[in-house]
């Protein structure tokens, strides 16, 4: 009882004085009602066993120094894309491209009242569905209070990626963004996310894929050190849909990325992958829940982390195969490369299978650099730091290989190379 009370107290303190925006009132009220029951998570919750939510629960964001990333060219800079810029969580029209892309309808959440917009019946629906069987209070909090975000409805094949660019100018910005994407039958789009959103960042992305729809998502989080970030990605797939999401995370005091994938239609494919690199004060948590509820679907989870100087990596990944989801092909791998004895990797892979004709595999490893391979490279003349970087990139390569677009994959790879060069000691 005491614990329940404390969760409610934390929630009350967290939202004191905050008023939900007027638009989408029903969805927001519903999210608040749900939140009132669950409260905010505590350290003793099984789902938060490896990641302490305390800082995310606090009423205000802790200060995070504004990070200067000008020593690197901006990521995705060479990709032809439609740029939408958010500064400390507020849409910046002057820095953005016009919201105009053939086959794609783009609106701002801040301007959506709900009743006369497709997103009125969409906003918060997948988030709500994703609260079962596990509570995800920060996603509910986001649905209740987020003012900004994009609403994207795709009816054709988008000619270029939509790129969400986050800029951090205030050292105390507490940012919430909620994006909704609906990809109609046979349509296709790529979403890029990059930049530093704020001192604290709570993001929700809801993606619905209709029959035969295709969605590619490539996200780059980093390189600021002080940020605290919790993100939720909710996706629902109809028949023959294809969903691929990749996240690069560099640095960050706390990052929790949850992905909740619900495969509802036959012959659909869902891949979620990530590469995370941390040095020192770094806690990175990938929490993934994939539900198979249709025939002959494939899912893959490929997560790699490189950790040094006391960095902590967490992976909680689950594949749930419902009865009747025959011929499911589920794969899950989570691996950490610990570059010293101080770093830690905590992994909880789970399979829960109620169908009898399925193929599911999972693996989780943590280990150091292979000294034999390192010596082999050095014996051929490769200097030790370069040899280490080669081996670390080789370790990460399997996750980067999940990105279909070669130019984007190469961009991600070069970011990791840059990070390794900067953290070479």
């Amino acid at each position: 009882m005491g614990m329940i009370q404390s969760r409610q107290d934390q929630l009350a303190a967290r939202i004191a004085g905050q008023v939900p925006p007027l638009g989408l009132a029903d969805a927001r009220a519903d999210a608040l009602d749900r939140l009132a029951v669950t409260g905010l998570p505590g350290k003793r919750d099984e789902y938060w066993r490896y990641t302490d939510p305390m800082i995310l629960n606090e009423p205000a964001a802790r200060k995070a120094a504004v990070f200067d990333a000008s020593d690197e060219t901006p990521i995705f800079g060479a990709i032809d894309r439609l740029k939408l810029v958010f500064v400390d969580g507020i849409f910046d029209a002057s820095a953005s491209d016009p919201l105009d892309l053939a086959g794609v309808q783009i609106d701002r959440l801040a301007e959506c009242q709900g009743s006369d917009h497709w997103a009125g019946a969409f906003y918060g629906v997948l988030e709500k569905a994703g609260q079962t069987p596990v509570n995800r209070p920060f996603a509910g909090l986001n649905s209740a209070f987020a003012r900004e975000g994009v609403l994207i409805r795709v009816t054709g094949k988008a000619t270029k990626p939509v790129s969400l660019i986050y800029i951090h100018k205030s050292d105390s910005s507490d940012v919430m963004l909620h994006h909704c994407i609906k990809i109609e039958r046979g349509a296709e789009m790529t979403l890029l996310e990059s930049g530093l959103a704020g001192a604290r960042f709570n993001a929700v992305l809801e993606v619905e894929l209709c029959e035969g729809a295709r969605f590619h998502h490539i996200r780059a989080q980093g390189r600021n050190h002080d940020r605290h970030e919790v993100t939720h990605l909710f996706a629902r797939l109809a028949a023959k849909a294809l969903f691929k999401s990749f996240t690069l995370t560099a640095n960050g005091a706390l990052t929790r990325n949850e992905a909740v994938i619900d495969i509802r239609g036959d012959d659909a494919v869902a891949y979620v992958a990530g590469a995370a690199v941390g040095d020192g004060k770094f806690h990175h948590d990938d929490t993934v829940f994939v539900t198979h509820d249709a025939l002959r679907c494939e899912s893959r989870q490929v997560f790699k982390k490189v950790l040094k100087n006391g960095a902590v990596g967490v992976f909680q990944g689950k594949i749930l195969v419902k009865s009747g989801a025959q011929k499911t092909d589920g794969y899950q791998i989570s691996q950490a490369l610990l570059l010293d004895g101080d770093s830690q990797f905590l992994a909880k892979p789970e399979l829960e299978i109620y169908a009898d004709d399925v193929k599911c595999s999972h693996g989780s490893t943590s280990g150091a650099i292979d000294e034999t391979a390192l010596f082999y490279l050095r014996s051929r003349g490769v200097p030790v730091s370069q040899a280490q970087a080669l081996l670390v990139l080789a370790f990460l390569a399997e996750s980067i290989a999940e990105i279909e677009d070669q130019a984007i994959a190469e961009d991600i790879r070069s970011r990791l190379e840059g990070w390794l060069a900067r953290h070479d000691h």
Binding site: D370, F375, S379, R380, L393
Partner: protein, 251 residues
């Protein structure tokens, strides 16, 4: 070229002494062979020369063209012209064979103050050398040694040697695990690299490799020392009589 004097080596994490005063001098352009029973210290000698961790030199010296080999990091030894063909070439998943070779070549050239080789020139260079060793394009594209057969791994070692053009090549049981045809191919590869400026140290258990790579000098190693040195005939003697006679002579 290579000069080893009174080299004493023990394993780093225990007191076991492996090399007990090895003396060996190899002149430019010479091919020397070291034969010896299991546990005589042959592979240890090759690892110590290449700079592998885990060994402690307790006495003696080793120089390459006059430079103190033992004071150099492994990559510095490589840039100085030392090459070890591994008994068990290492598999490196995720690193392409071509990337590996080009990185190694350019790192060595950079260390020597030479210009790097462009991607186009490198491709031509490797294709030409690979063809002679019957290494196909697919092997070059695959990750280093991953999924290679025993013979492919050894041919890949010789390819690296051909591309890196070292001065002093050490072949650690390059014949182990090879069938006769593969051994011939490897030997041809080695022979094509023989020249007046390049020396070889061939470590082997058996005489048969030496039928294909004709040595100038043959050494017998036992209990961490060179116990006998002679011409090619010494290898034939070992082949017909085994090591027992030589070992008893030495004590």
């Amino acid at each position: 070229m290579l000069s080893i004097n009174n080299l004493h080596v023990k394993l780093g994490d225990e007191d076991k002494q492996i090399l007990n005063g090895v003396d060996l001098k190899i002149g430019a352009g010479e091919v020397h062979a070291i034969m010896g029973p299991n546990g005589s210290g042959k592979s240890t000698l090759s690892y110590v020369l290449a700079g592998r961790d885990g060994y402690v030199v307790t006495d003696g010296s080793a120089t390459l063209v006059g430079a103190d080999l033992l004071a150099m990091a492994p990559e510095v030894r490589a840039a100085a012209g030392l090459f070890l063909a591994f008994q068990y070439p290492v598999e490196i998943p995720g690193v392409g064979n071509m990337t590996f070779l080009r990185t190694a070549l350019n790192a060595q050239r950079k260390a020597r103050g030479e210009p790097e080789v462009s991607a186009g020139d490198f491709l031509k260079l490797v294709r030409d050398k690979a063809k002679r060793l019957q290494i196909d394009a697919d092997m070059l594209k695959r990750p280093v040694n991953v999924g290679f057969s025993g013979g492919e791994k050894k041919r890949n070692e010789i390819l690296q040697m051909a591309v890196l053009e070292p001065k002093m090549c050490i072949l650690d049981e390059t014949d182990s695990g090879l069938d006769v045809d593969a051994m011939k191919l490897v030997a041809e590869g080695v022979n094509s690299l023989r020249n007046a400026g390049r020396s070889f140290l061939v470590i082997t258990h058996y005489q048969r490799l030496l039928d294909h790579i004709a040595p100038d000098v043959v050494h017998i190693m036992a209990t961490g020392r060179i116990i006998k040195t002679g011409g090619p005939d010494l290898a034939l003697e070992v082949e017909s009589n085994g090591y027992a006679d030589l070992l008893s002579e030495a004590y």
